[in-house]
């Protein structure tokens, strides 16, 4: 991508996703979308707004409230030459289609020794901090990271959202795509995007801020908490390097290790529950593979091992915050 032409207007996270999907739909007539209320309504948040109008009911399906069938039918479409983009109205409802994802879809390539591949994207609004309570706040990517055969993506900004969505759609494997709903319309992260077609390849993390004193690994909405905490650390004289994973599976260990070689300190931040979450996985891999670079005990800031409660003070209590991250960062830096 050499010197891309720049559009005149800034685009929000939601529009970036919407454009990515619509552009891929135009590019490849074998792409089909399925989900609840994605056609006539255009999706609960509007990510598929206008898609059915433009591409017809044969390509955009308003599905019955049947998550297992939505995934399973999409799997059938994919094993017969189509590519399916599946919306979970909220990513929380993915639990209702769980078996069809982890046992039917994720393993198809493996159990057919490569004969079949399932180019499916399962996408949906995700994440806490918005007062969504237990069932409209989940980040449940670790369930799927633990289920071999699924790629997992979670962008934090419009550029990545568009580029990763395109890469996910073009990927021959099933991808679970976490859209952070609190970012959909966040004004201060709007960006000017290249006019040209581009992708952000899966499996590549991004250093979003350079620093020498501590590496903070995160993704999704927590990127912004971490950046704010990094400013706090700066005030105390510590320069944090902030890594946005962007893709959880496959995990870009190299970028983290490279950073640790420099900083020798690690903090991982993730809004999902702590036990067996992605933060722990990053910690474990780094301890296994970069132990020699660690000069201080690494740490995680995650959601407590609780559901996400509804009322604001309760919700914030269990989630990572700028304060908690700053505090942990300082502790590690001062070790």
């Amino acid at each position: 991508m050499s010197a891309p032409t720049i559009q005149s207007t800034k685009v929000n996270y939601l529009t970036a996703l919407k454009d990515a999907i619509a552009e891929e739909f135009a590019r490849d007539k074998d792409i089909v979308a399925m989900g609840e209320d994605i056609g006539l309504l255009g999706g609960a948040f509007g990510v598929t707004d206008g898609l059915q109008e433009k591409f017809g009911k044969d390509r955009v399906y308003d599905m019955p409230i049947s998550e297992a069938a939505i995934v399973g039918v999409a799997c059938g479409l994919c094993l017969n030459g189509k590519k399916a983009i599946v919306e979970m109205q909220f990513i929380d409802f993915i639990s209702c289609g769980f078996d069809q994802i982890v046992n039917m879809t994720a393993t198809y390539h493996y159990r057919t020794a490569g004969e079949v591949n399932i180019p499916m994207v399962i996408r949906g609004p995700a994440g806490a901090y918005g007062g969504g309570a237990l069932y409209h706040s989940q980040m449940n990517e670790a369930w799927f990271a633990h289920s071999p055969g699924l790629k997992i993506v979670c962008p934090s900004n419009p550029y990545d959202a568009k580029g990763l969505m395109k890469a996910a759609i073009r990927d021959p494997n099933p991808v679970i795509f976490y859209e952070i709903k609190d970012l959909y319309r966040r004004r201060d992260i709007e960006m000017e995007l290249p006019e040209e077609d581009y992708i952000v390849p899966l499996g590549k993390a991004k250093v979003v801020k350079e620093g020498e004193d501590i590496t903070i690994v995160t993704y999704g909405q927590n990127v912004y908490h971490v950046l704010a905490a990094a400013e706090n650390l700066e005030k105390e004289g510590y320069r944090a390097e902030v890594i946005d994973l962007r893709t959880i599976v496959p995990l870009d260990e190299e970028t983290i290790i490279e950073s640790l070689k420099k900083t020798n300190r690690l903090l991982v931040v993730n809004e999902a529950p702590k036990t067996c979450g992605v933060a722990g996985e990053v910690l474990a891999r780094m301890t296994e593979n970069a132990f020699q670079y660690l000069d201080a005990p690494p740490a995680r800031i995650t959601r407590m091992d609780t559901p996400v409660p509804w009322v604001k003070p309760l919700e914030l209590y269990v989630l990572p915050s700028v304060e908690k991250i700053t505090e942990a960062g300082l502790r590690i830096c001062k070790f």
């Binding site: 609960a44 309570a133 069932y135 509804w310 009322v311």
Partner: protein, 374 residues
């Protein structure tokens, strides 16, 4: 037309049931039913207003135009019976067991204070506002807490009445579901199980013609969702969801059927969703739903239908019927004057309590993941 009940669809209904349950209702019962319709409507309207004033968080799934289903279904239940309402059924939480005494806080239904405290997210609601608005409940009042996952409480409903049966109690469990939710796998698994064991589970389907932005013909191949009953050989009935007396009649037939050991049933109540899916959807709904469909769907306001019945039965004069003219008016058109004072007072009591109540302490958020082992 959607809101017009078709000829009864009955599978296996006992002939003896032909004497309609509503034949037993007194003038006082009719008056109470009407009052409850007002109460349910007022609850909705009041919350819409409160929300517009910025005093509330969360989404409001209006039950406007669908109140006859809640009122008529709950009216004939016994105190110990179980219910499981969902997002569009907020009034059910306090309408349960309210018949005898609105102001008895010990009855087997939630108090208006508790419900309002929940809406306002206060520590004085039974779940201390840990889950949002609609997912409340109260074990001691025999109200099952739903998750967001639609149809997800039907198995639990089967479970609670199975437990009661094992203990020699003859309760029934009534679950409320949108017609769209019947497509969930767990609906099938639970109804099938209840049918195998003839469990007293009455499944109310509120067919309001839309599941969010999806019309019924994309949810189910048949027009009458009561026909889902046929796949299990259980009783399936259709009620006019605008007519609280017809709802009462059909649901009571199902309840009696259940109570007498004949097993589960499905009662489809035909109605129409007055507004958007939730209050955030009002504007968009106007785009995806043809205006004439909406007009037609709202043309038989349950309050008006009930008044008409009462006038016909001589329980009310035509002049009296003009009082409290909430019927046919949108939330922004009505004022407190359109409702009986008792209704306004009742709810105000709840709202005031809620506003005065404290928020839960932040630290509570870490509590109650597990129950401590004694």
């Amino acid at each position: 037309m959607a809101t017009t009940a078709k000829a009864d669809h009955q599978t296996g209904l006992n002939d003896e049931a032909s004497k309609l349950p509503s034949a037993q209702l007194t003038k006082g019962d009719y008056e109470e039913l009407l009052r409850q319709l007002y109460l349910a409507r007022y609850f909705d309207v009041r919350l819409i207003k409160e929300k517009k004033r910025g005093r509330l968080r969360g989404t409001l799934y209006s039950s406007h135009n669908q109140e006859a289903i809640l009122v008529g279904s709950l009216f004939g239940l016994q105190s110990e019976d179980w219910i499981s309402p969902i997002h569009r059924d907020m009034p059910a939480f306090f309408l349960k067991d309210i018949r005898k005494d609105w102001n008895n806080d010990d009855r087997m239904g939630m108090t208006i204070q508790e419900v309002c405290a929940q809406v306002w997210g206060k520590a004085t609601s039974p779940g201390r506002a840990r889950d949002n608005w609609s997912h409340i409940g109260c074990q001691s009042k025999h109200i099952i807490h739903s998750t967001s996952m639609l149809a997800g409480t039907i198995p639990a409903a089967a479970g609670v009445v199975l437990a009661d049966r094992l203990n020699g109690k003859n309760t029934i469990a009534m679950t409320f579901n949108g017609e769209g939710s019947t497509a969930q796998g767990v609906f099938h698994e639970a109804v099938n199980f209840a049918a195998v064991h003839k469990l007293p589970v009455v499944t109310i389907i509120e067919n309001n013609q839309w599941a969010y932005g999806t019309p019924t013909n994309l949810e189910y191949p048949l027009e009458d969702f009561a026909r889902r009953a046929d796949g299990y050989g259980i009783l399936g009935l259709i009620a006019d969801g605008q007519d609280v007396v017809d709802v009462y009649d059909k649901v009571m037939q199902a309840v009696n059927h259940a109570r007498s050991g004949k097993g589960p049933s499905i009662v489809e109540c035909k109605t129409f969703r007055a507004y958007g899916h939730g209050d955030h959807d009002d504007d968009r709904a106007a785009r995806y739903r043809p205006a004439d469909e909406v007009e037609k769907g709202r043309e038989r306001d349950p309050i008006a239908v009930m008044k008409k019945r009462m006038v016909e039965m001589g329980y009310m004069t035509a002049d009296d019927a003009k009082n409290y003219a909430a019927e046919g008016k949108g939330a922004s058109e009505v004022t407190d004057i359109d409702f009986p004072q008792q209704v306004v007072d009742y709810l105000s009591k709840g709202v005031e309590f809620a506003i005065k109540s404290p928020l839960p302490e932040a630290e509570e958020a870490a509590q109650w993941v597990f129950k401590e082992v004694e």
